[in-house]
Symmetry: C2
Subunit: 214 residues, 2 copies
């Protein structure tokens, strides 16, 4: 398809598509003569992904470029490739390792991974921003004086494992490696707000069931 059709089918203006091409967020089309390039379904898919990250996820252009470099790197194995793509997404602040609450949170997080039997995730703790985000969240809880117990954390983690299985089923159902990696990124950017909304709706439902509207 030509640029105009790519624009029409994606809902992205030709000016914005040209900007993405210049910034390297979209690979060049196949030049069929000096003034015309031909684009394919891969371009359309990539355009949707870029738009989701920038417009919905609020991801900066430079970060989008880094995420895509990982998505496209055939030298990476699939777990690392998916992980590396996600790891480039915006992160929480780094934990302050001198803080006693952070040190205690590391112990609590490590013990949680042991109890869950998440041995693979445990191998990745020094690399993984998700692990650091968990440490920051647990340290914040404890610093504020809340002690809701490690059992609750364990129960939440088991439910999130079920969510992750759905996430990975969706990734596996994609036909190509590129689409698998793209779906992993999209899943995180787009479904986070959706899960949060569903949780709050479920809280309303459950609250009304237990307490009524009195």
């Amino acid at each position: 398809m030509r640029l105009a059709e790519l624009s029409r089918r994606s809902g992205v203006s030709t000016a914005t598509i040209k900007y993405y091409l210049r910034e390297g967020l979209l690979p060049p089309g196949r030049q069929i003569n000096p003034t015309t390039a031909e684009y394919d379904d891969g371009h359309l898919r990539r355009l949707r992904l870029v738009r989701a990250m920038i417009q919905v996820g609020g991801v900066p252009v430079a970060t989008v470029r880094e995420v895509l470099r990982n998505v496209d790197d055939p030298a990476l194995g699939r777990t690392i490739r998916l992980g590396a793509a996600l790891w480039a997404l915006p992160q929480v602040p780094e934990p302050d390792e001198d803080d006693v609450f952070v040190q205690a949170a590391h112990r609590e997080a490590d013990e949680l991974l042991d109890r869950l039997g998440w041995s693979n995730a445990k191998l990745l703790t020094t690399l993984s921003p998700a692990y650091r985000a968990l440490v920051v969240a647990v340290a914040t809880f404890r610093r504020l004086g809340y002690d809701w117990g490690s059992e609750l954390l364990l129960s939440y983690a088991r439910l999130m494992h079920e969510v992750a299985k759905l996430d990975l089923d969706l990734v596996e159902a994609q036909p190509s490696e590129a689409e698998k990696a793209e779906t992993a990124v999209l899943g995180t950017v787009l479904t986070g707000p959706m899960l949060h909304a569903l949780r709050r709706l479920a809280q309303e439902e459950e609250s009304a069931r237990r307490f009524g509207f009195e």
Copy 2:
């Protein structure tokens, strides 16, 4: 306890406590003489809640005041009281009701609530920001051209219902009505980032189990 002890036990400076008192985020202490007020455990708890909302949740002072007004209103029944407290928290943009994707998302969300049997949540749809947030999330998916099917949404919603049951168990375990409402607010502000971190850790674990580190 006196102001100095309240500051020491909460980790919040006396200057900040005085600011919260002036702004009405903390009820006045019991005046025991013209220059000295006495504070109790209720003040300590309220201070932690205010700090969690402002420092962790990034909630503006005016919004904190509105949340607390709902938390403290004995005229509200429990479901409405918890809901109203949460509904004052920062929201997603309002859906554009003239948009065809938003109109389709309303139908999809309503059908989802029917299939889930969430009849209470359905009664609240005209009031609930969580419902509007779901509509916005679904419309965004569809506008970007993704059709991941209503079955996936249903599966996610069922898991979030299990999460909400844990949330409500924690609320119910609190000894007083005030603490129940406070816990509902804290649960949403503090545990959102924690659940997101657990989901991403679970994705790493599950990805490594299915695909290895190749």
